[in-house]
Amino acid sequence: MAQSVVLASARMGIVDFDFVPLRGTADPYPIYDRMRETGRVLRSPFGALMVHRYDDVRTTHGDHDAFSMAAAATGDGGMRASMGGGRRAEGSAVEGMQGGGMQGDDFFLAQTMLTTDPPDHERLRRVVNRAFTPRSIAAIESRVRELARELLAPLANGEPFDVVADFAGPLPTIVIAQLLGVPEEDADQFRIWSEVVAGTDVRGRGTPEASRRYGMELRQYLADQIARRKGEPTDDLIGRMVEANSEEIMSDAEVVAACVLLLVAGNETTMRLISNMTLALSRFPEQRELLVDDPELITPGVEETLRYDSPVQMLFRASKEDTTVGDVEIPKGQFVLTMLGAANRDPDAFAHADQYDVTREENMHIAFGHGIHYCLGAPLARRETRIAFEELLQVAPEFEVLTPDDALDYPPTGMLRSPRTLVVQAV
């Protein structure tokens, strides 16, 4: 009786929860279980609210007026007060959202679709949308396959192979450079810039100082490429953006920022998705065998990896007005962490939620978010990852992981999730 009273009152309001989301953990899933048991809306020791139920995350993302991306990025709407006046807290939100690599101040010199609300969001996304169509992404299928084969050669030869540094990282980095239309002769330089700037520099070549310099050089380079295409249109991502922007809906700095965003938001996340899928397939060999026997299952297998071990574990919003999540009142000016990784394991939304099942039907996971900020690069990430495993499982239908579990080295922010190194060998 007493217990049910406690539970009932816990459901009514915001409940304190002893978890600092930006201090990572190798296994967050038991923590998410504890969140579900504790209450519907939680407050972390660093002040942010957390929603973790699938329906609540979906509703929060869908209501971009009440739960604003712009307010989360800029700390508008009384947020500083709610965060204890913290520039620092604000910085950590920003840092987490972009996945490291770039400093917040640089990043927000020009706005992108990621950190804006309507009507700016539409203006900034429309031009990129016209360049980044499903058709333009489908056109690179054979090039991605060719590249995957090249990168996988050491694995095919039976050598120990770091899936993260030698495959999952380079693949999206090289593909996006080609999609953007970076000329062949600049490809190596561009790859170095984007590895350091976009968080795929897993071997740690870039110092923070180099990272800032590379960020500036990368922007300058992109600005030159944009200027070059104004006279002579090209059929690549930058060229099509320039063309779609012929009425100057966006400033040149905004087009540069959009290109940088494609690298920052796309490369590291795809790297993490491919890494997590490799790990899941090693842990569940019967699932791997299903994919080897029927490669058609790789497509739902990618979806299941997105759900089971989401590369992006959480995303920020901020309440721009007094609002509610279910029966819980949310005051204006709160940072709200939407826990994608928890929502994707919500037993109320998914049958056998903690089980990795590549044959899962109607897998409506929320790994790419929901609403107007739904991941623009999702079709590219899905395609790259599908091709990655069509090729990987061809050269290594059976493989073992050589990296011990305690050396997987998950990132210190719990925001993004995947091992830093994952050495495998074909059996």
Partner: protein, 63 residues
Amino acid sequence: MRVVADLSTCLGNARCVATAPEVFDVDDDGVVVVLDATPSPDLAAKVDLAVRSCPTGSLSIED
């Protein structure tokens, strides 16, 4: 069954194209095109899933 798309909210995420390519496409402006507004009943389950999968809620079915 009649499939209706709200072009003012569509952001061209193309989940519908992945789910029911017989019924949906995304054009070069990055916006959905309904290829078949009155799909045959055997496509109903796929179309229903496509409608529910749309990240911007831009699709609906009118009876």
